[in-house]
Assembly symmetry: D2
């Protein structure tokens, strides 16, 4: 199934009632496109519980978890905690929260053991290839220089996307590959699918939109269009 | 008012129903000792909302916040978010989550602006003195080598506590000074008060106790005893 | 004595023969203004030995040291090592290499014990005040947003400089205060002195100059002019 | 050719005259076993110049480099700088100086462009496999829990070594694989070779030895013995 992953980040709209409202709108779209488009919501740690309780057709993933076991780790967020709060997956290694390679490996192992899905971000085809060896469930290619620009990687650097698909597929046949960075319009989503990826990772285009629900719907429709 | 601050850390008891149960037991004690002992609960980020909603006689502080403004900071926890979730204060710079000096200054400024209380940890009298210049609301002296040992700083290194009080008071008359690290029994609490601090920061002695409520009660009584 | 501290950073001119040539030119100026202007050279770690051996009228400081004791710390640069290579001081906490407060305290203690001078950078008057409590030998106020801009803090934000002098002097009568960030011309140096600081910390204006020696000379002259 | 890589770390013997003396002793052995054993010396950043100038039969690698281009990066050590000082290679991602995956990829690309060899450390076969996709020149498998213990990985966890060789060879036929962690005696070296790796990465067994030269010689002989 094709994926629309919404990274809430840490905007004014990322928490509290505005975040809840975006989550519910996304969940409506998820219900409408059920079986066709999988919607993944990535709220901040403090909002996982509230949003996980409020949605029923979308998945909830953490934006990040810390690479520690349970114990004396003041101020850390563990895999166990986000699972307890209702997340069924974790994203890690976003360009705004990069991890060391040993930490990525540790978290992937732990999430697997606890039954959570994993989504790992990569900045280049080469890094994506290395990550794919660690067998995450999903992988997003996001050239950091395009994040938040409104310039979609699928247009500005399509070769990064196709290069990622090519290199990763040599090493890992199963990982779901997403396109991130600069995805703004439905056309960008369509382009991402046509370049061979299974969906998109979007943030500002939805979180900073006047009508987030409308953008979510448009992007979901574009996934279907790309498949026609 | 004297302070009993409970750092939930990231133990098995730190989240979900066990954390909620400890929070409720602490809140009972807080009600009982209302006006005499101030109980501060420091749950992990994912549990702030649930615990803040469940208690009414205790304060809820975050264990840590990240030094960023609102914006594109995937995987970060901002001051705004923990406030929205129900925290009325933030702890920072715990030895398990140290911050850079410019970050401490940034977070203190931001928390002040948003009306949140602040509690900053320090490992030595000298560092405590430097922090006191930044005017936090509370300050905890915790020699990291004693954290989690069950050996209270008030016994093992009383001069660290008295030295902190002396050095900080030259620079800052108002900051509330707490004693942390190794506080295990009511006697340790009494000692901390007698050394001139206004309370304690406790973690494992409560979070890993067979009967956390009993320990919380004992420690609260010890605060009162110290004052007799 | 007034100070002209030259941060070599990591430019193309910061190592090898170009760095050596700048160091020698600076040393000539240091000889000329001996007793009036103190020149401090801050080469990268790999160049300390070569430059310390080549100069005789200037001091050599490390740009940074790691907060570790001797031992199993692969890839770290210790206070002992830079001393062995010929440095007589260490700069720490530059905005491009910030440290945690406990690390600053650790390094200051260690440098003191080993007989090295210390220079700690601060981004705001408040942070400078906190650092001054730790008793460094020198302190540089550098608003990071002006570093490398060519806009001198002494013109753009004179209140940051005067505020730093005021706040630090309440807490520490002895620390030498320098002005950094955006210092480009001799006039900027004069302004820094007139605002009450004892010299400047300069990088790009010298390291990227067509004729570094000329700029060093001009800045030294400006120190003297400011004193007339 | 089989490799004996000596990580100087940051011991009392790692800099100054003691480091130089160990380097010269190693270089003698390198001359003696020329064409059979390749000796790689990894001094700290401040000592690269002195040691590179003093040896002629050994290679000199940096223990670490920072993931930055040339520019305004105070306190960083760049690939260009260690090359200028005389290193012909860089080690990165040692367990005492781990890097993010994107940083490893960045440094490998830069070192390749500048003509330097690369040696990347890994803690598990899985991480080693991921790194091998980034095409380093050499790779060392070092379970961090054995580093400095005197318990050789080749005895305590031979399956980590053989597992690494097996997993890496599926992905990368060319990378030279070394065994690290706990290598203390000639027998440990022999075991490492017999498990299918091309040499060893050693630190404390040489740097803390009464007679470092003797250990270096014994380890070199053991490489040859393993090949008989």
């Amino acid at each position: 199934m094709y994926v629309l992953a919404i990274n809430f980040k840490t905007y004014k709209t990322s928490y509290g009632s505005r975040a809840l409202s975006i989550a519910k709108e996304a969940d409506s779209v998820a219900r409408e496109y059920s079986g066709l488009v999988r919607v993944i919501l990535l709220p901040p740690a403090t909002e996982i519980l509230r949003i996980a309780n409020a949605v029923s057709h979308s998945s909830v993933f953490a934006q990040h978890v810390d690479p520690v076991e349970e114990g004396a780790y003041t101020g850390h967020v563990t895999v166990e905690m986000v699972k307890e709060a209702g997340a069924t997956g974790v994203m890690i290694n976003h360009s705004e929260r990069r991890l060391r390679l040993d930490e990525i490996s540790f978290i992937l192992g732990k999430a697997r053991k606890l039954g959570l899905e994993t989504l790992v971000c990569a900045d280049t085809p080469e890094v994506a290839a290395a990550i794919s060896v660690l067998s995450p469930y999903m992988l997003a290619i996001e050239p950091p220089e395009l994040i938040g620009t409104g310039i979609p990687v699928s247009k500005a650097k399509p070769e990064v996307v196709t290069g990622t698909v090519a290199r990763v597929r040599e090493l890992n046949k199963e990982v779901t590959i997403l396109t991130g960075a600069g995805i703004t319009t439905g056309d960008d989503v369509t382009a991402a699918i046509k370049l061979g990826t299974m969906g998109v990772l979007v943030a500002s285009a939805i979180m900073k939109a006047q009508e987030p629900g409308k953008v979510i719907k448009e992007m979901s429709e574009s996934i279907l269009k790309a498949l026609e």
